[in-house]
Structure formats: structure tokens, C-alpha cells
């Protein structure tokens, strides 16, 4: 393949990464924005989403689409409830003290991960995509014969990957509408702005925190269900998304939702493109160093507000 088609392919793969990343990072960002809590166990909620998706689809049988649609409904709900319960039993008891919350969520990370290892086992397991037709893409070129269109070998994307990108856009738009236009969103924003005043106005802050924590974990699970037909479910799969989601949230500005989406696109695309042309390890080294430097020299992130 020539450079041009190769780049197009890399950016399409990058767009899929960006779509999943946007969902996962949005969960982390909402939790941090509203509750000021750093959830280290976020990657494990993602992994749990994928594992539950595998479990549901393997139980249902029949056409892969039935199982997939069910998984898309069940996995985020289950994960959300579990996270809400964890918030009530653990995080509320320690009053969201920043240091202790990090330690507690590290503990939660190991509990979820190792319990999955004990029950689900150490193998990676695939989930059938609901549909998976290969769509070849054309490429245009000015050759000796003038302007020509041809179909380079290997330049293609599956319909499922296109669906992932569309689904992520759809879910994020819906989320945006809920947060900016609905009563629930208003309560969330009120809690974020000033939890004490919100409490004084009759907002049940504890319950809001609990469900926001659940919502964040649920978003990670949605991302995982979408990715699992491409990637397979594995008990250690939460590691990389956690790191990438952290990077995204920080680059985008802690707590800034539009910033998170922009950063997800930026990072997902560049991760896809750098990984195609250079070594993926090098791409990760650069990404982690950039984050550390951004935090050290521009702590508010790219779109974050200055001075809290």
C-alpha cells in the first residue's frame, strides 16, 4: 500500500480507538468532575463490562445480534449497580477523602480483577460481532491517465467498526443532552458546582454521588461491550484503557467534558497513527511522558479552567 491509503486506514483504526476511549474517559471525567474522586478501579469496570458481555452472549446463543443487543443493555446496568454499591459501602464511609479514596479504589481494582481471574479464568474469550461485512474503500489518485479511482488491496473497514464509531457518537450526544437539558443533569451540575448549597436546596447529594459513580462505571462498560467483538474479553484488559482514559481526562482538563471528547479524538487518532508507523511501545512512552509534562507545566489541561 502507498502512504496515502495507509494513512487513511490508520486514521480509521484510530477513529475506532477514539470512539471507545471517548466513552471510557467520559465516565472517568464525569466522576471526577462531579465528585472530585479519582477512580483507579475504572479500568476494571470496563473489563467487567466485556466479561459480562461474553457471559450474556454465550448464554443466549442463536444469532449473535440478539446476544449482543442484550449484552449492551445488561452489562452497563450490572456494572453500574455494582459500582453504585461499592460507592455506598466503601467510598461514602471514608467521606471521599482523596488519599484514602485512591487507596480504596486500588483495593477495589484488585478485588474485581482477581475475582474475575478466579471465576472467568485467565483465557481471552471472543464475542461474535452482530454483523461484520467488509467494506472496501476507494482511493483517488492523479496518475499518468489523469484522475483515477481504484481499490487498493487491504484498504477496508468492517461494518461493525463503523457501527462502533456511530454508536459512540450517539451515546455521547444523548449524554450531553441529559446533562445540559434535563432535571437529572441540572441536579448533577448543581452538585458539581457546590455540593453543600445543593444539599441545602434539598438535593440528596449522597444519592447523586452514588449514581454518578454508577454512571461513570456504566459508560466504561458500554465502551467495553462495543469493543469486545473486536478485541476479546480478558481479565487484564482494563489496564491500558485505564491509563489511556487518565491521559485523556488530564489532557482535556480535569472535569471538562468537551475537553475530554476532544482529547479522546486527539489521542485515539494519534495512537492509531503512531502505532501503525512506529512501535506501539514507543507511542505509549511518548503519550505517558506528554501527560506527565502537561500535568507538571499546565495542570489545568488544555481546556480546563484556571485556578480552582
Amino acid at each position: 500500500m502507498d502512504f496515502g491509503p495507509h494513512l487513511l486506514l490508520a486514521s480509521l483504526e484510530g477513529a475506532v480507538t477514539a470512539a471507545i476511549l471517548a466513552l471510557t474517559a467520559m465516565g472517568l471525567s464525569i466522576v471526577f468532575g462531579v465528585m472530585r474522586v479519582v477512580n483507579v478501579a475504572h479500568g476494571e469496570f470496563y473489563m467487567l463490562g466485556a466479561v459480562i458481555a461474553w457471559w450474556v452472549t454465550s448464554l443466549i446463543g442463536g444469532h449473535p445480534a440478539i446476544g449482543f443487543v442484550l449484552a449492551l443493555g445488561i452489562a452497563p446496568l450490572l456494572v453500574g449497580f455494582l459500582a453504585a454499591a461499592a460507592d455506598k459501602v466503601i467510598l461514602q464511609k471514608i467521606n471521599y477523602d482523596p488519599d484514602r479514596t485512591i487507596v480504596a479504589t486500588i483495593g477495589l481494582l484488585y478485588i474485581i480483577q482477581q475475582t474475575t481471574l478466579m471465576t472467568f479464568g485467565p483465557d481471552a474469550r471472543p464475542v461474535q460481532p452482530p454483523f461484520n461485512t467488509r467494506i472496501a474503500l476507494p482511493w483517488f489518485e492523479f496518475g499518468d491517465a489523469g484522475f483515477a479511482m481504484y481499490w487498493p488491496w487491504g484498504l477496508s473497514i468492517t461494518s461493525y467498526k463503523l457501527f462502533v464509531i456511530m454508536a459512540a457518537i450517539g451515546i455521547l450526544t444523548a449524554l450531553w443532552l441529559v446533562i445540559t437539558r434535563s432535571k437529572i443533569g441540572l441536579i448533577m451540575r448543581a452538585t458539581q458546582l457546590d455540593s453543600e448549597t445543593a444539599l441545602a436546596f434539598g438535593v440528596p447529594v449522597d444519592r447523586v454521588y452514588m449514581w454518578v459513580f454508577g454512571l461513570g462505571a456504566g459508560l466504561a462498560a458500554v465502551g467495553a461491550v462495543l469493543v469486545v467483538p473486536i478485541q476479546q474479553a480478558h481479565y487484564l484488559m482494563g489496564h491500558d484503557p485505564l491509563l489511556l482514559a487518565f491521559i485523556t481526562v488530564i489532557i482535556g482538563g480535569l472535569g471538562s467534558l468537551p475537553g475530554t471528547v476532544i482529547a479522546a479524538i486527539l489521542i485515539g487518532m494519534s495512537d492509531g497513527i503512531i502505532s501503525v508507523f512506529f512501535s506501539p511501545t514507543l507511542a505509549k512512552i511518548i503519550a505517558t511522558l506528554v501527560v506527565a509534562m502537561v500535568l507538571a507545566f499546565r495542570p489545568q489541561g488544555l481546556l480546563g479552567r484556571t485556578a480552582h
Partner: protein, 314 residues
């Protein structure tokens, strides 16, 4: 007896107990104890920063690995002998912690944790990236010929135990002394209220940087000693898990207490040792312990003891 005399007695008692343990405990536990003492040095280094200065780092594996690879690679690639290689290990941990400290201390709180985590992750990936020299996850064995220090063969069980004991005692007593010094007192003041310490005229940033360097260097010495005593260096020691371990040990034993790190390592070591007989998912135990600790005993074992029984404990 004054409190400081009591503390002195306690510290010497701990060392004497470890000395006697070699002669009374069965071989298996003696082997465990030499490993525990080296890891306790790592925990002591971590405790200096976390327990006394109040900075929670999630990147100490980088310093541990800096010492480990400083020693291992200088032996592998440049054929250095033991003593100079040990110095290289110490120096690389010192340099790495100074650079990371300088950059990470521009932030505080949650950002500090994430910055240190990111640097450590970048360090781990760098070790994997240069896999042709470091052998990545697989790691490499340190030749027995290289493990002779001042005529002592450190691959021998007895020599290993006493080398670990000497290293532990030096770090243990030095840090216990340091935290009672005016410098250590200032660090505690910064932990309790940084604004006030600054108002009183202390250069808090310089103090914190010194604390990071001391803590990182001790961690690096532990890493170098681990490679030397147990003859192996691998990328596993640079993973996030090895940054979380010292946090776990210190929290379990009691942050900001001198004997906490040792107690934490012993407790955790045997907990994992026993539970790995039952299940391969032994990190589950670590997770449960972490959650229970944050809920019920945020001060750790030694911390709770100090609160309830021995108020004088250092």
C-alpha cells in the same frame, strides 16, 4: 526512661530479634526473612516520603528499578565489579529521583500521584522498549561471580541474611534518626500544614525535593540490593504493582512510624505466602486488605498500637 531512650531500645531490640531469628528459625523462614528485610528497606524509603512528608507517590517502582537496573546493566554491559556497580545503582536512583522530584513537585495532591504514576509507567515501557539490553519481562540473571562483595559470596544463604540485616539496620536506624532531626521535624510540619510551614519561613519545595531524593535513593538501594542478593533483575519490578506494594506495606504497618514498614512487609509477605497455597489469585487478598484498612484502620498496625497502647512509640 525518656521517650527517646525507649525508642532507641525498641530499635536495637528489633535488630537484635532479627539477629537471633537467624539461629532459631528453620531455613525456609530464614530465606523469607532475608527477602523481607530487603523489601522492608524499600518500604522504609517509601515511608519517609509518604508517612513523614505526606506525599503519596504511585511511582516508586521507578526508583526501585533504577537501582536494580543501574546495578544489573552496569554489570552486564560494562563488566563492572560488585562495589562500583552498587554505586552506579545508588547514583542512578539518586539522579532519577532528583529529576522526577523536580518535575512532579510542581504539582500536589492527586496530580502528584498521577504524575509519578505516569513517569513510572514511562520508565517501565522504556525498559520494555530497550528489550535487547534489558531482556524485558523475562529479565536477566546476575552471574554468581558478580555477587561477591568484600570477599563475601552473597549467593550463600548465611552471607545473604547478614548482608540484608546490615543494610536493613543501617537504613532503619538512619531514617529513625533523620525523622527526629530538625530536618525530619520540618517535613512533619509540612505534612501537617504546608502553608504554615511556609509562613514560618521554611523553603517547603526544597525540603520536599530533598525528601523525594532521600526516599527514592533508599528505594533504589533496596532495588540494587535485591538484584545483588537474589541474582535477578526483571521488568516486573518496574510495574505499577511494585509501586503499590510499598504503599500497601506502609499503610498496613503504619505510616509515619519507624517500625511500621517492617511490620507491614512481614504481615503482607506471609499473608500472600499462605494465600498463594490456596489460590492463584492471591492479589485478591491484597485488595481486600487495602479496602478494609482504609475503612477500619487508616493508621495501620503500628499506628493503632501507638494510638491505644504505646503513646511514646516513634
Amino acid at each position: 526512661m525518656t521517650d527517646s531512650q525507649r525508642s532507641q531500645l525498641l530499635h536495637l531490640g528489633v535488630i537484635a530479634l532479627l539477629f537471633v531469628a537467624f539461629f532459631v528459625l528453620p531455613t525456609y523462614h530464614v530465606g523469607n526473612l532475608s527477602r523481607i528485610m530487603v523489601l522492608a528497606v524499600y518500604a522504609i524509603g517509601y515511608n519517609f516520603l509518604f508517612g513523614y512528608t505526606g506525599l503519596l507517590s504511585l511511582g516508586h517502582a521507578l526508583f526501585f528499578a533504577a537501582g536494580m537496573y543501574g546495578l544489573g546493566l552496569s554489570m552486564e554491559l560494562f563488566d563492572l565489579t560488585t562495589a562500583p556497580a552498587l554505586m552506579v545503582g545508588l547514583a542512578s536512583a539518586l539522579i532519577v529521583s532528583a529529576v522526577i522530584g523536580f518535575l512532579a513537585l510542581r504539582t500536589s495532591g492527586v496530580s502528584f500521584m498521577i504524575v509519578t504514576l505516569m513517569f513510572a509507567q514511562a520508565g517501565y515501557l522504556t525498559i520494555l522498549y530497550f528489550g535487547s539490553y534489558t531482556r524485558g519481562d523475562e529479565g536477566f540473571v546476575i552471574q554468581q561471580a558478580d555477587r561477591v562483595l568484600f570477599g563475601l559470596d552473597l549467593s550463600n544463604d548465611t552471607a545473604r541474611y547478614f548482608a540484608a540485616l546490615v543494610l536493613f539496620s543501617v537504613c532503619f536506624l538512619a531514617v529513625a534518626r533523620l525523622v527526629q532531626s530538625p530536618f525530619g521535624r520540618t517535613l512533619v510540619a509540612i505534612r501537617e500544614n504546608e502553608e504554615r510551614a511556609r509562613m514560618l519561613g521554611y523553603n517547603t519545595v526544597a525540603h520536599k525535593l530533598k525528601a523525594v531524593v532521600i526516599s527514592g535513593t533508599i528505594a533504589g538501594v533496596a532495588g540494587a540490593a535485591y538484584a545483588l542478593l537474589f541474582g535477578y533483575a526483571g521488568a516486573t519490578f518496574a510495574t505499577v504493582q511494585y509501586s503499590i506494594f510499598p504503599l500497601l506495606w506502609v499503610l498496613l504497618g503504619g505510616a509515619g512510624t519507624t517500625i511500621g514498614p517492617l511490620i507491614g512487609v512481614i504481615f503482607m509477605f506471609y499473608l500472600i505466602d499462605l494465600s498463594s497455597d490456596i489460590t492463584s489469585a492471591y492479589m485478591l487478598i491484597a485488595g481486600v486488605v487495602l479496602v478494609l484498612l482504609t475503612l477500619f484502620a487508616p493508621q495501620g498496625l503500628a499506628g493503632e498500637l501507638r494510638k491505644r497502647v504505646f503513646k511514646w512509640m516513634p
